[in-house]
Symmetry: C2
Subunit: 317 residues, 2 copies
């Protein structure tokens, strides 16, 4: 992978989507490998339906944006290979767990995800709950497991532990789960603008922020660089949500592969709904500038991450 | 705590319940402390309802058997203190997460747990799903967090990582989540006797086994002793399930504080239902003997764990 990173550093912006889909293919293969390995492990009676539901929820052709951020952030510090790919896959497991649980009838009650039936529709509610639980658990399993990679110095136990701790914080009550709880209450609580920003920083921002920080941990970065990557992640995490809400306001369901306009229909405030599309585009431009500035010290090595920031802000689906 | 462990080594069997409830009180206090600390951490908007639901699910006056096993197993190797208590609390978080999710309408659909409304009854389904998710996540957070304990050599990152890995395996598709999935399918699949044993070894056995193994990890035990403690945990885990199924067959709901006879009503086979009460009591006696034999090398230090094995096999609620 080191060679391909070098080759891409001076690549034109138009090749970004190829780079993203190339990483996505490798992450999908890694997710397949990790699930197959867990299925074979031990002399257990295999819960086939649960495993099938996990695969349905995780091998779904997503953009794999969070893994992309892990891989590219680690590459900034010269780290690539199996440990990076496994950690990237672990973050994707947590992302997919949250989608499976958020889609449940008791939560957002969505039937479609990326144009396919959601896990509780394709299987059943109990299996969907357990598939989410199992993917969350699997993520910690992956991060705690040595890859046995021979070609490079292994990650230290301290690095693996930092990865575990960071993921637990990003997924927990101060992160994704807490943010989803606040989002469910938003219809009634009607949070103000600061409240909406914080809710979203928890619900969707925390894992995107952490994806970039995890790359720095994998790369053995200094604390200052780790914090810089986390700040970069925060900026693009907020941009991701603003772009998502803007799409929710303007796009149609066919382009998105899922129901749209749901937040507005539920009376939930979003910043684009409050301030309009033009204001949102200005905010997005400011966030992309901020994200790019944070990466200046890394020079040309940061080209792919800069392109990711632009892509996140300007994406159409 | 070291002093009280020494004092109990030669205590009579009748004092076991006091020892169990003493540990339970300390674990409950630790769970309170850990939840309070996470609530105060960071400048987040606090998801109050979610935090209340987590407390409802975890601060419920349980026997805290798994934490007891962690504490007593660690004491075998001379380890006590804050790190042990925190790890014990982490395992209880995972136990309570599994109860909250298992009680959901889509799963076992239980309204009562220890005589109190289940979390989805006291709150709502979405909050119960998120409370379970958050307790599972919190457990990994706790294990990855240094206690800052000054009085003893700290746990090594390797020990903490082993704790994380072990918990992930015990909770995942080859453990609790996989076992619950098989249990949900048991009504239709009608597993044979070997299938029932394996299902239960995953669903309830894995975490009890791991509680004993975690104590050995905390205590810096040799691999052989770690394996011995895990085997002890397997024996009492199976005894726990047999005693539970025996109670389900014979006790009434008032004594159990929850619905009874449900497994039989659902057409699910249990070993006591297949073989009767007398056969079950013989099996329980054999498992207790096996558990006691495994602890012989530890001599008088293992008195409390031996009493735990007897208690588990003979408990009436």
């Amino acid at each position: 992978m080191a060679a391909s990173v070098a080759a891409m550093e001076s690549a034109p912006v138009t090749s970004f989507k190829e780079r993203l889909s190339g990483h996505a293919a490798r992450v999908e293969q890694e997710l397949r490998r990790l699930l197959d390995a867990r299925e074979r492990a031990g002399e257990i009676v295999r819960p086939e339906r649960l495993l099938a539901a996990m695969r349905h929820g995780v091998l779904n052709g997503g953009k794999r944006l969070r893994p992309f951020l892990v891989i590219e952030s680690a590459a900034l510090f010269g780290r690539s290979g199996e440990d990076v790919l496994a950690a990237a896959a672990a973050l994707e497991c947590v992302h997919c767990y949250s989608l499976i649980h958020d889609d449940l009838p008791a939560m957002d009650d969505d039937d479609l995800r990326r144009g396919q039936p959601t896990v509780h529709k394709a299987y059943d509610e109990a299996t969907a709950i357990l598939a989410g639980d199992s993917l969350l658990t699997l993520a910690f399993d992956i991060l705690a497991t040595e890859s046995g990679e021979a070609a490079r110095p292994p990650l230290s136990p301290r690095q693996r532990l930092d990865l575990v701790k960071g993921l637990a914080v990003a997924a927990g009550i101060g992160g994704m789960a807490g943010g989803q709880a606040l989002d469910l209450a938003a219809e009634k609580d009607r949070p103000d603008e600061a409240g909406i920003i914080r809710l979203q920083a928890m619900k969707t921002g925390a894992l995107i922020r952490y994806a970039c920080e995890a790359g720095a941990i994998l790369g053995g970065a200094t604390f200052a660089d780790r914090e810089r990557l986390a700040e970069f992640g925060s900026a693009i995490g907020l941009a991701f949500q603003l772009a998502d809400d803007l799409l929710d306001l303007t796009a149609d369901a066919a382009a998105m592969g899922k129901a749209t306009g749901k937040d507005a229909a539920a009376g939930k405030g979003t910043l684009p709904a409050l301030h309009g599309a033009e204001w949102t585009r200005q905010q997005l431009k400011g966030l992309v500038d901020q994200a790019h500035d944070l990466l200046e010290p890394f020079g040309a090595k940061a080209a792919a991450l800069k392109q990711a920031a632009t892509f996140i802000a300007e994406r159409k689906s």
